[in-house]
Amino acid sequence: MTGMIQGGWEFVWAAYGITGVAMGIYIASLWIRWKAEDKSE
């Protein structure tokens, strides 16, 4: 027993994965909205 939490990589991957996917979707939504506004002007 070292007192250190063992494993837990699934939580690490989930945190980075959810953040990456959410940021990717947001950047894509910004791009789509920007192009739509640009077209309507």
């Binding site: 007192g3 250190m4 939490i5 063992q6 494993g7 837990g8 990589w9 939580f11 690490v12 989930a14 945190a15 980075y16 959810i18 953040t19 959410a22 940021m23 947001y26 950047i27 910004l30 909205r33 920007w34 506004e37 640009d38 309507s40 002007e41």
Partner: protein
């Protein structure tokens, strides 16, 4: 250089730094003495927390500037910072829950830090939805700016909550409070997210400005031949 190129440059620098910082955080930095590899969530969680607080502070400044100056540019920046701040705070709660489960044993606790962050998320998300319900641009800008100034009173409470109350959440992680081997990925990710945030605020404010121009001068109906 056009403003689009400036935004693209900030976005590319931000994404590059975030990739490098995350690589160092996931594979190069040592595991924490007690939390082991789970502590690697810090390299994404802490920069998200810093930037969420910075972006909401900017939202307060832009709201105040709009009410004082009555310039539409400040309203567009206010809308941009509101939306990005809500996104970052939602991500902050998810990352925190994923860090909390293996270290505290629970995804969520009604701890002072977590509760004040939840209040911050709900109040600013409410202001953002208020903007969607108001069609009149002046009313939308004035009402939401006033609401932002009121909701901003909670932002310093979130920051100091871990010092003011006996919190389950650890004290703020800064380069002075973490091991020197962990500082580099933390700092790189923080600057990366800052650069990306600048690009996102610029682009989102252009969208808000275009929408406001359309609201004030809607396109004329086409005349049938």
């Amino acid at each position: 250089m056009t403003r689009q190129r400036v935004a693209a440059a900030f976005a590319l620098v931000g994404l590059g730094l975030l990739s490098w910082g995350s690589y160092l955080g996931l594979w190069v930095a040592p595991p924490d003495r007690y939390m082991g590899d789970v502590q690697r969530i810090m390299y994404v969680h802490v920069p998200t927390a810093w930037l969420a607080l910075v972006v909401f502070t900017l939202a307060f400044v832009y709201a105040l500037l709009f009410l004082i100056r009555r310039t539409w540019r400040w309203d567009a920046l206010h809308e941009a910072t509101l939306e990005i701040g809500v996104l970052y705070t939602a991500l902050l709660c998810i990352q925190g829950a994923l860090w909390g489960k293996p270290t505290w044993g629970v995804y969520w606790a009604w701890d002072p830090r977590l509760t004040t962050v939840a209040v911050m998320l709900l109040s600013f998300a409410g202001i953002l939805s208020l903007r969607h319900f108001l069609d009149d641009p002046l009313r939308r800008a004035s009402w939401s700016a006033t609401a932002t100034i009121l909701a901003s009173a909670n932002v310093p409470v979130v920051y100091y909550s871990v010092r003011w109350w006996n919190s389950l959440h650890q004290l703020q992680s800064t380069p002075k409070t973490v091991n020197s081997a962990m500082v580099e990925p933390l700092r790189i990710n923080a600057f990366g997210l800052l650069a990306l945030t600048i690009a996102l605020i610029m682009i989102r404010s252009w969208i808000a400005e275009a929408r406001r121009r359309r609201d004030l001068a809607p396109p004329l109906p086409e005349i049938e031949a």
